[in-house]
Symmetry: C2
Subunit: 460 residues, 2 copies
């Protein structure tokens, strides 16, 4: 019986395991994971810290028992230390301290990503955390409980930084959010990031954008107690933020050490290089999820866009191929959405600066309309920013912001579908979208923006 | 100066007028309408009856002043009575009783549709209404106020019927909804219509489906007062519903008398036949909106799908072409959404029976998932029904139902975009849709349904 070994039990690994068993029920599948939290929704961690999710275990997409129910052998707290690609074998460190050697016919590396600790002094001080794994969340939660911390500084105002600012506020902490870019959520254009800044400020978060952090320090205390010795976060601007807890949220990098031991080629931003079938450069070894490159559907080239939704899709493709199937990963558009209090901001495709980097000539239109007819109660202003290729009008990117009841996430999905299928803004205008006064307008706000963009393009 | 005359000042007419002035600012544009409510949102009328919209005038998409601000001459309370196509002239009945003859170079007929009064006895009794125009809504409102009516029967459980059931309930009336089909909203498959039935029943509406109405009667009252003489609505089943007010909501038919006076060809279901440029069979005369055929984007043939969103789009195309432009209407997919209390149900593309009528062989999958990760509070069950062509997997139709905060309308828009671009369910599965735990799942419920459908298709 052929043996598929999967290293990593998060979204990509679990998706791969389940799909492989589905495609070939005769396949022996072993999935190793370093902790005890398979298929755990790391995107949910801020909601646990914030108290919106009380049951930690509920954040697993599937329980260990459910995964084993698919016929997957689950080795928890097992760490793969090296791959012998010639022998098709894996060295594994077991929880009892022993080492075992696992033979495989196919191997899927799904080792994920780790939080970046920026190269500044003080990131190893007590009270400094990252938020990437289940263990990180439990550690922060315990620290908050044990120390009675009343303030937090967050280094990095991306999605996790903003979500954690809300989470800490919900726990009653005073929160300072520090972002080097001009506005939070730097993977949105600043016009949309400003909405997030306003949402946070309105809830009492102190947002300091445009300033980089250069050190974290802590005054020594003769008593030896660190509980009442706050940390100082020093900025380029000369300002410092004082906080009991510091969260580093400056992004992630792919975990590739294991894959490198097999000699696989690394690609974009140090992620494991893969084909669209999710094959690495070494025969029999696949990679999927946050440790691997993704395929950018619009740019038609590799990119590094570590996202949960992509990890699930890549895992499924890798699992199918490792089980003898033949499927290509169709690619990502960097579609992302984040909720910050009642604000939702989302993007798909390229930002203006990414359009320029790609050497494309583009027109961008900003538009504000309503989610539904304003005569019906509760209409919400929706901010839309569309970017299209000059001349052809091909939709290249969309960014949308508005209240969480304004169907922002699904509007970005309409744009993602339009971009994936190569629609122009004129073709978007022509889509037969749904309308009823409490839920829409005869021309959806996306179509209004598309019409606006054509007007700008034709005048230039 | 060339003169464009538009007959009808609702959505199609107004969209045409504005677009024509935009394309050719030198064009003289005259728009006639029979009442005093140009560009009035007839889709909003139930919310006025139900009291959710207090300001009647707010339901106009644009005010007369705003329309005139675009340089459109607005002739309100003017009724066109005949077209002399050879002379390119229009006979018009003015509000002062006089008749005038308007010369035109181009004419756009946008006379809309009228509510069908079924061919049964009693539809002309006092207390029997339809709900199509601003005047209809004002008349019903006045009647309810004057008579102190406490009960209503609605004949027809389509979108308007369901919305009016909610509206009457909001005004405190006892409501009986009568629908000949097995479930309300017969332009959904009964599986989705059943959700609407449950939503209405849960709010105290008596839903009687599967029974046709054969007569409406009223006992004569010697006192001459009709206020306390209820109407009786008699059904095929032998049952009768007693109500102070009866609303006929069995659909609409195109208003074509004027166009027929010009000799235009009628098409599907008696609607004015038009090309994709919205030209009628008579030179110089265009038609748009609910009086005209629409182009079915998937079936690639004419259909009659009178909807506000389509009227806006057709009007814009007709206006552009009448002003010398050249644009084709890309077509409809019958995308529709309705809110019934907190339930939203929506469709796009073909129902199962329409697939059969079109001679296509299809697979349908029913799926229930969640709008967002269930571990985050407030997750909502979403019902999805996807229909795809057997073999190719091409998406042919989608129906979705769920709570109004579950982004149902925009999910159907994703499907409408997918159908318009010819995606298969497998390609839908591969879309890079947005995910964050409070607003989605790693595989959106649409993609879960698409995966499910492939599983069914491959097993058969």
């Amino acid at each position: 019986m052929a043996h598929l070994v999967i290293v990593g039990g998060s979204d990509a690994g679990t998706s791969a395991a389940l799909r492989a068993r589905e495609v070939d029920p005769g396949l022996e599948v072993t999935m190793l994971l370093a902790d005890r939290y398979p298929n755990f929704s790391v995107c949910g961690l801020p909601y646990y810290i914030g108290g919106e999710v009380a049951d930690f275990a509920s954040m697993a997409h599937r329980s260990p028992t459910a995964i084993e129910g698919f016929g997957v052998r689950l080795l928890m707290e097992h760490t793969a230390t090296a791959i012998d690609a010639a022998a098709r074998a894996l060295d594994v460190h077991a929880p009892d301290g022993s080492t075992l050697r696992l033979r495989y016919d196919r191997l899927i590396v799904a080792t994920g990503a780790q939080a970046i600790r920026p190269s500044i002094p003080g990131t190893d001080l007590p009270g400094v955390f990252v938020m990437r794994s289940a263990a990180d969340a439990l550690a922060v939660d315990e620290y908050l409980r044990d120390t009675g911390a009343t303030s937090a500084a967050i280094v990095g105002g991306g999605y996790i930084g903003c979500e954690m600012a809300e989470a800490f506020r919900r726990r009653g902490l005073r929160v300072t959010l520090l972002e080097a870019a001009p506005a939070p959520i730097p993977n949105l254009d600043p016009e949309l990031g400003a909405l997030a800044a306003a949402a946070l400020t309105g809830e009492g978060v102190e947002v300091r954008a445009g300033t980089a952090v250069r050190a974290i320090t802590q005054r020594r205390d003769d008593s030896g107690s660190r509980h009442h010795v706050p940390l100082q976060v020093h900025c380029d601007s000369g300002e410092a933020a004082t906080a009991d807890v510091v969260l580093l949220a400056v992004g992630v990098r792919p975990v590739t050490t294991l894959a490198e031991s097999a000699g696989v080629r690394l690609g974009v931003r140090g992620a494991i290089g893969v084909t669209r079938r999710l094959e690495t450069s070494v025969a029999g070894i696949y990679a999927a999820g946050d440790c691997a490159e993704t395929w950018h559907r619009m740019l038609q080239r590799p990119a590094y866009l570590p996202l949960g939704s992509t990890a699930h899709k890549q895992g499924r493709v890798a699992g199918e191929n490792a089980a003898g199937g033949d499927r290509e990963f169709e690619g990502s558009l960097g579609t992302q959405v984040v909720k910050v209090y009642d604000l939702v901001v989302a993007r798909t495709g390229l930002l203006e600066r990414e359009v320029r980097e790609a050497g494309l000539d583009a027109v961008t239109a900003d538009w504000q309309g309503h989610d539904h007819k304003p005569y019906y109660p509760g209409a919400i202003a929706v901010r839309v920013r569309l970017t299209a290729e000059r001349g052809t009008g091909r939709l290249l990117g969309a960014q949308i912001g508005g209240h969480r009841h304004a169907e922002i996430a699904r509007r970005i999905d309409v744009c993602a579908t339009a971009i994936a299928t190569g629609l122009s803004v004129r073709q978007l205008e022509d889509m037969d979208l749904s309308y009823t006064p409490p839920l829409g307008t005869p021309w959806d706000v996306l179509q209004q923006a598309a019409i606006r963009l054509q007007g700008i393009g034709s005048r230039e």
